[in-house]
């Protein structure tokens, strides 16, 4: 239904680099990323509010890259402040109907308001609405525009938890009724609860587009890795070592040995903090990875302590309070970190 091909653009400090993805009719596509990575810019380029400097956008099999905003049939709903403040709720919902020359405006407004549960406050001004009511009216207005694709820019960000849950139900329902939704958010839970497909965005680039299970099972961004608790997450190069069953993973000029059958090339590697040990000297055992580094932070964890050691890149080790005491660990102290090649989880 919607296809983006190598979209690039720059507005002030924000930019998009070669964004490509496809959304099928009826999809609920969530674009997940931290604030400032260009998520809203992406939505606005689809709606036509910002023109890309290169690339193409296809909607309903038509190239709409340079099509006028009012002819795209795409609705955009923001977190707040997108209802017309001088019009009542009724007039807001009726606004697109007047553009279309609709004859029975009242019936259509009531029908759209009914679908989102906004019939009780039709004659109020937007400034008097709660966050949840405001978003319902915004969605009703998009329904009135008869657009089958909604772009939602952090629509739940300013809602309390009860309204959030009600709005999620409403969004799922709209999606089930045939509305294709592209929803940007920084909230993982929102993404998991709504998405049929997730696109993870970092620094103006979509780094991973897949089903939610895949995105969270095999993170390809630090952002997702942190969310699922994979604290030692690296992106680097994997290379076979001749006459060995080990492979060499390189990141920031550091080489780690991994026991994996993943093919050589750019890969992602995670090591659980509990798999890393700290010692005063390099351990002589089955561990293949030993690095000397300096402790840069020690923080209490749910159980034990997380010790952050700089070995050229930061590694987090989880150790017990007894070990911390016995090794006299403190910030600035030089120590050795050790982990087995089999502790490295590698995927591409």
């Amino acid at each position: 239904m919607l296809k983006l091909e190598n979209i690039s653009l720059r507005v002030g400090e924000f930019e998009l680099n070669n964004i490509s993805f496809e959304v099928e009719r009826g999809d609920y596509f969530v674009i997940l990323g931290l604030s400032g990575v260009g998520k809203s810019l992406l939505l606005e380029s689809i709606a036509g509010l910002i023109r890309p400097s290169s690339g193409k956008i296809f909607l309903r099999d038509e190239d709409i890259t340079w099509k006028k905003i009012q002819e795209r049939k795409v609705s955009i709903v923001y977190q707040d402040a997108d209802l017309f403040p001088h019009l009542t709720v009724f007039e807001n919902i009726a606004y697109p109907l007047k553009s279309d020359g609709e004859k029975d405006i009242k019936a259509k407004v009531l029908a759209c308001a009914g679908k989102v549960g906004a019939t009780e406050f039709l004659y109020r001004k937007p400034e008097t609405l709660s966050g949840g009511e405001y978003q319902r009216v915004s969605l009703a207005r998009s329904l009135a525009a008869d657009n089958d694709i909604f772009l939602l820019d952090e629509p739940l960000a300013s809602l309390d938890s009860k309204s959030k849950s009600e709005m999620r139900m409403l969004l799922r329902q709209l999606n089930r009724n045939g509305i294709t939704i592209i929803h940007v958010t920084h909230d993982y839970e929102e993404a998991i609860s709504l998405a049929s497909k997730i696109g993870v965005m970092e620094n103006g680039t979509l780094v991973h587009v897949a089903a939610p299970e895949e995105v969270f099972r095999h993170p390809k961004s630090e952002f997702i890795a942190h969310f699922i608790g994979a604290k030692n997450f690296f992106r680097g190069n994997l290379k076979t070592i001749p006459q060995s069953d080990l492979k060499e993973f390189s990141v920031n000029g550091i080489s780690m040995f991994c026991l994996t059958d993943v093919e050589d090339g750019e890969v992602f590697l995670t090591i659980q903090p509990e798999e890393i040990s700290i010692s005063a000297e390099a351990e002589k055992g089955s561990s293949r990875n030993h690095f000397k580094g300096k402790i840069i932070d020690i923080a209490p964890a749910k159980v034990g302590f997380e010790v952050i050691v700089n070995i050229g890149t930061e590694l987090i080790a989880l150790i017990s309070g007894d070990s911390k005491k016995e090794l006299k660990l403190e910030i600035g102290k030089e120590v050795w970190v050790n982990f087995k090649a089999s502790s490295c989880k590698v995927y591409n």
Partner: protein, 261 residues
């Protein structure tokens, strides 16, 4: 008592005193004019047909100029608020020109484009419109010196309307012209009305440019000047007091309408 005295900021006291002097500077001459004018002389001024005609002429020509030129000024203000284009700063500077040039010089400049020898003067005469010594010329002179007030106020008003609302309206299928009339203009209305009042008030009080373009028919400021130079202060004050009272009444009324809207 002592503690409340200590709480008074000396800076605030000084600023209040200095500000009070400015207010007095504005109010004292106007108040003095009314204190030194008997009701009888104002009644005589009202009864004087020439005075009534001049006040009415000032009122309707300045209003006509404001309405006529708002059709050009408001779209320009919108463009200046929303679009970036080459030499935009120059355009903004040109708009402020009538404020900084002496109004007698402005009158001379306007006269230059309105004479029978000019293209505009000749074209207008084809349609039976004469500018020199005519209300049409007064309208042009008033508009020339007062139009920056409308453009600047409207531009600031449009700039304060969130652009996002206009874009959302476009995504809802509205044409740009519908967006302008249903979203931009209603939301900028207070500022546009402010500019409208300022332009009208500025045109109403114009003397320098008007007297050069049209000494006759006489607007109120021109009549006040004539009464002063021909008969002295005593005979000009009642006309001035009447004109100021009419202007104040309309000005206050428009401000109230704006506040209510």
């Amino acid at each position: 008592m002592i503690s409340s005295f200590k709480n008074i900021s000396w800076m605030r006291l000084t600023f209040t005193f200095l500000g009070g002097i400015v207010l007095l500077f504005i109010l004292a001459p106007i108040a003095g004019m009314y204190f030194n004018t008997s009701i009888g002389s104002i009644t005589n001024a009202v009864a004087d047909e020439e005075v009534r005609d001049s006040v009415w002429l000032s009122l309707w020509t300045s209003m006509a100029g404001t309405i006529l030129f708002s059709f050009f000024a408001i779209p320009l203000a919108y463009l200046l608020a929303r679009k970036n284009f080459p030499m935009k700063s120059l355009v903004n500077g040109i708009i402020d020109l009538p404020i900084i040039i002496p109004h007698s010089a402005a009158g001379i400049a306007v006269l230059g484009i309105l004479t029978r020898d000019s293209w505009l003067g000749q074209s207008a005469e084809l349609f039976g419109v004469k500018f020199i010594g005519n209300p049409a010329g007064i309208i042009m002179a008033m508009a020339f010196v007062s139009i920056p007030f409308l453009i600047n106020a409207a531009r600031d008003g449009f700039a304060a309307v969130p652009e996002r609302l206009e874009k959302v309206a476009l995504t809802l299928g509205a044409s740009p012209i519908r967006v302008f009339f249903t979203i931009s203009l209603p939301l900028a209305w207070r500022s546009v009305l402010s500019g409208f009042i300022l332009m009208w008030a500025r045109g109403l009080s114009e003397f320098g440019a008007v007297i050069i373009v049209a000494y006759n028919p006489k607007t109120a400021p021109v009549l006040i000047f004539e009464r002063f130079t021909s008969y002295g202060l005593k005979y000009s004050v009642p006309v001035a007091a009447l004109f100021v009272a009419v202007c104040l009444a309309i000005f206050i009324m428009l401000r109230l309408i704006k506040k209510k809207s």
